[in-house]
Subunit: 299 residues, 4 copies
Amino acid sequence: MERIGFVGLGRMGRPMAANIRRRQHPMTVFDIADAPVQALEALGAERAGSPAAVARASDIAVTMLPGPREVAETILGADGLLANLRPGGLVMDMSTVDPETTDRVAAACAGRGIGFVDAPVGRLAQHADRGESLFMVGASEADFARVKPLLEAMGSTIHHCGGPGAGTRTKLVNNYLAVILCQLNAEALSLGAAFGLDLEKTLEVLHGTTATNGQLKVNWPNKVLAGDTEPGFAIDLAHKDLSLILQAASAARVPLPVAAAAREAFNAARARGMGRQDFSAMLDAQCAAAGVAPPRLKG
Amino acid sequence: MERIGFVGLGRMGRPMAANIRRRQHPMTVFDIADAPVQALEALGAERAGSPAAVARASDIAVTMLPGPREVAETILGADGLLANLRPGGLVMDMSTVDPETTDRVAAACAGRGIGFVDAPVGRLAQHADRGESLFMVGASEADFARVKPLLEAMGSTIHHCGGPGAGTRTKLVNNYLAVILCQLNAEALSLGAAFGLDLEKTLEVLHGTTATNGQLKVNWPNKVLAGDTEPGFAIDLAHKDLSLILQAASAARVPLPVAAAAREAFNAARARGMGRQDFSAMLDAQCAAAGVAPPRLKG
Amino acid sequence: MERIGFVGLGRMGRPMAANIRRRQHPMTVFDIADAPVQALEALGAERAGSPAAVARASDIAVTMLPGPREVAETILGADGLLANLRPGGLVMDMSTVDPETTDRVAAACAGRGIGFVDAPVGRLAQHADRGESLFMVGASEADFARVKPLLEAMGSTIHHCGGPGAGTRTKLVNNYLAVILCQLNAEALSLGAAFGLDLEKTLEVLHGTTATNGQLKVNWPNKVLAGDTEPGFAIDLAHKDLSLILQAASAARVPLPVAAAAREAFNAARARGMGRQDFSAMLDAQCAAAGVAPPRLKG
Amino acid sequence: MERIGFVGLGRMGRPMAANIRRRQHPMTVFDIADAPVQALEALGAERAGSPAAVARASDIAVTMLPGPREVAETILGADGLLANLRPGGLVMDMSTVDPETTDRVAAACAGRGIGFVDAPVGRLAQHADRGESLFMVGASEADFARVKPLLEAMGSTIHHCGGPGAGTRTKLVNNYLAVILCQLNAEALSLGAAFGLDLEKTLEVLHGTTATNGQLKVNWPNKVLAGDTEPGFAIDLAHKDLSLILQAASAARVPLPVAAAAREAFNAARARGMGRQDFSAMLDAQCAAAGVAPPRLKG
C-alpha cells in the first residue's frame, strides 16, 4: 500500500486526509496549525515537522493549500516536497491555483522524474466531510490510475479531464460559471423585486425555461433566498477565483467582458463589508445597490 | 362562445391564431401581409381591413406585434382597437414590450371599461406551431379566467404571474437570464477552448455542478455546439430584448452591470454580421474575438 | 428681418430666445408654462397659443425641448410646426435628441420644402444667460447662412459640423467624452483616496501628463472638488445622454463597452438618490461605493 | 559624491543611467544583456557581475526593472541589493510595480537601516533620452533630498508625492487615466466615424469643451491619427498596467467598473495581434470591432 503524505489540513484538507487515512494508508501529515494535526494523529497518522519530512516519508504527497504562493513554496521551495521525494514519487496538488503555477510545478516534477496530478475540488466543505467531493483531475493515465484509490476515498465524483494541468483549467471554467451565475441571478431577481413581482411565481417560471441554472435551483433556495448567508463559499473566495480566472484569461488573450464586470460587482460587495457572506448574498449586495428590499422565500 | 380578433400574423402570431381558430371560435384577423390572412381564411376566419374593423367584430382582441411602437399604434391609435371595442370587451397583448408601454395600454383600457391582459410568449416558433407555447400572464382574476381557454388552445404552460403588467415584467426577467446565459457560456467555453480542454469532458463536469444552466444543457447541444446556427431566436432579437431590459432597469433605477457588458457583446456580434444567427452563436462571436476555434460536439 | 418663432422656454430656451429678441427680430413664442412667456412678452415678443400658431407667424421656427418625443410631436404633429410653416420656412431644432429623430424630422422638412437645421447646445445654463453658448450645427450651407445671425445672438462659439444631422451626432460624441470623463476621474480619484494620496499633489501630477482632461481641469475644481454639487449638469441628464448615445451606437452597431459600464455607474448613483446632483458628484457616488471619504480641495 | 549603482539597463534604464553618469557620479552597473553594459562602460561606469556586486560598490542603488517579480528578486533576494548594501545605503526603485511590492521592499529596507525611494517614471523613452522624464517620488524628506540630484540628472519634472509608496501609487492613478483615455477616445471617435462625421471638425469641437483630454490633444495627433502606430507605449504594456491597477484596487476594495471594461478591450486588441502597437492604436482595434474605417487626419 502506498505511503501518503498530506500537507494542508484546513477546512477542506482535514476531512480529505481523514478519509484517506480511514482506508488504512500509512500517512504522514504537516500543517502550521496544531489542532488538525492532532486530529489526524488520533486516526493513526504520523506528524512531520516540515513538508520536507513529509516527502521523505511518502510515496505520494498531497497538497491542499490556500493559493498559488503557498503551493509554489511547499512543492518547489528549497525545503519542499519535490527536493525530498524519491524518484518514482508523485505529487498531487488539490489546491485551486492558476494554470501558470500548475504548469510550472508540473514541469519541475517532470524534470525530476516525479509524477504530478492536479486535482482541484468541487462542491462544499460538508461534502468533503462525507467523502462526497467532486474532483477535476489532470494526469497521465498511469498517474491517474495510481491516485484513483485516494480520490475514491475522498469523493464520489471523479472527472479525469485530460493530462497534467487539465484539472486546474477545468476548475477555473467551472467556477467562472458558478460564481458569475450568482451575479446574474442577483441582477435578475433585483429587477424582479423592483418590478414588484412575486418571487415564488417568478422562480416557477424561470425553472420551466432555459433561464434555469444550478445556482438558482440548487444553492440559492437553501441559502440567500432562505435568509441564510453563512458562507458555504464566501464572496471573498469567489472574488479571488474571479481574479485567478481573469488573470489566466489575460495570459491566454481571451477577453471576458462579463467576468470583468462581475468581478467589480463582487469587489463592491466586499467594500460593503459582505466579503465573508455566502456568494449567493450577491443578491443582497445588488439589491442594496438598487435600493430595493432583497426578496426571500415565504415560510 | 366569445368572438376573437387577432392582429399580427407573423411567424408566431399565425400558428397561435390558427390554434385558437381550430377550437371553433368565431375569428376576425388583420395583417399587413396577405398570405397569412389567406391561411387563416382557409381555416374559417374572417378578413378585416383594419384593426378598427377587427375590434368592431370581436369580444376579445389579441395582438402579437413586433414591438412597443406597433402595439401602441394598433391599440391606442385613432383607428385602433380600443376606440372600437364595445364596453365589456378585452384586449390581450402577447407582444414583447417594455413595462411602460404595457402600463400605458393597461391604463387606457381601464379608463374605458375594457379588460386588459399582457401575455407574452416563451419558447420558440416550433412550439407555437404545436400549441406548446409558454405564457407569462398579467391579468385580474376575472380577465384571466376569460382568456384561459384561448391560452390553452395556444400553449401547454400558463403562468398567471400577477395583475396587469406582471406578464411583461416576468418575461423581461426571464429573458434577461436566458439571453445573458449565452454570453456567459460563450466566455466559459471560449476559455476552455483556449485552454485546450475537451468539450465533452468539460460539459460532463459542468452539468454535475451548480454551473449547469438551461441554455447550456437544453438549447446549445442542438444548436451552436452541433454546428447549427440557424436562428431559433436570433442575436438581433436577443440584443433588442437586452435593450428593453436595460431601458426598463434604467427607469426603475436598477443598475445591471453584467447585462450592460453583455449587450455590448451582442452588439459586437451584430457588427460582425452575425445578427441573424441563433443567439447560441454568441459562442462563435466570442471565440472569434479571442482568436480560438469555436468548440463543437463530436459526431 | 426674418420673423422668428420659438417653442420651449425652459432653463435654456428662455435666455436663448431673449438674446435673439434683443437683436430686434420680430418674435412669437410658445410654452406650456406662463411665466417664461410673460418674460418674453416683456421684451416685445408675441404670445401664441400653440406651435401651429407660432409657425403661422414665423419664417424660422426654433425648438428647444426636453427630448425626442416632444420634438417629434411639436414639429411633426398634426397641429405642429411643419404643417403650418409656409414654403421657404425653416425649422431649427436645438434640443438634444437621437440621430434617428433628427433624421426623421429633417426628411419630413425636406419633403415639404422647409429648411432644417439641427443645432444642439454645448456649455451650461449660465453661458446661455450671457449669450456665450457653443453650438454644434448640422445644416446645408444656405440654411447655415440663414440661421447664423440667430446663433451669433445666442452664443459665442459656432461649429458648422456638416449637413443636417451632423450637429446632433457631434453633440453625442462630445457628450460621450464629457460625461464618461466624470466616471473616469471618479474611479481615479477614489483610488487615490483609498491609497491615502494628497489630492493637490495628485492633481499637480495629472495635469502635467496626458492624463489631464477638461472635466478634471476646468469643471471639477469649481464643483465637486470644492464641495459644490449643485447641478450645472445633473447626473439624471448625464444618464439620459448616455442612454441616447448607447441607443444610437446600438443602431449603428458600434459596441461601446466603457460607455455601457459607465451608464450603470450613473444609474447606481441615481439609485443612491443623487440624480439631481452635478455630474461631477459621480466622485461622491464612486467613493461611497468604495467606502472611502470623497477627496476635497483644501481652503 | 555618492557612488551610484544601477541595475536594469533596458530601453528606459540605459539613457537614465547614462544621464546620471554624465554628471560624473562614480557608477557601477549590472544587466543580463551585454550591449547596454558596454555602452555605460564607454561613459566610464564599472561593470559588475551581479546585483550583490553592484550593492557592495555603491552608496545608492537604483533599479529600473520589468515588473514586481524582478524587483523583489533583485532587491530582496539572497544575492540581492539589500543584503549587500552598507548601513546608510539607499535603494531607489524606479520600476512600475504594484503597491504591495513597493511596501514590502520599503519595509525590508527600513528593517535594515537602508533608505528607500520609489520613483516611477512618466513620459516616454524619447524623453528619457533627453533627460526630460517626469518622476513621481515617494520618499522621506531626507531620502528625497539625497536622490534629488540624480532625478535632476535624469528628468525635468519631479513630483515629491509623499512618503515611501506614494510614488508607485500616484503612478498607478496617473496611468489609470492615461491608459483608459485611449479606450474612451477610441469609442468616441469610432462612433463619430460610424456617424460619418469629419474628424478635423469633430476634434475642433471636442478641444473647445470639457471633453478634451491629454491623450487626444497631445499624443494621438502624432500617433494613430497620423497613421503611426509604432509604440511609444505598447498596448501590451498598457494592458499590464491596467492589470496592476485592478489588482491594487481589488486589494483596496475599490470597485473600478470602467477600468475593468477597458482592460478587456485591451485584451481583445491583444487577441487581434495588436499588442505591440502604440496604445493609441486602441482606436484601430475599436474601429475593427465596430466594422468602420479608422479615421485619420488629412494631409
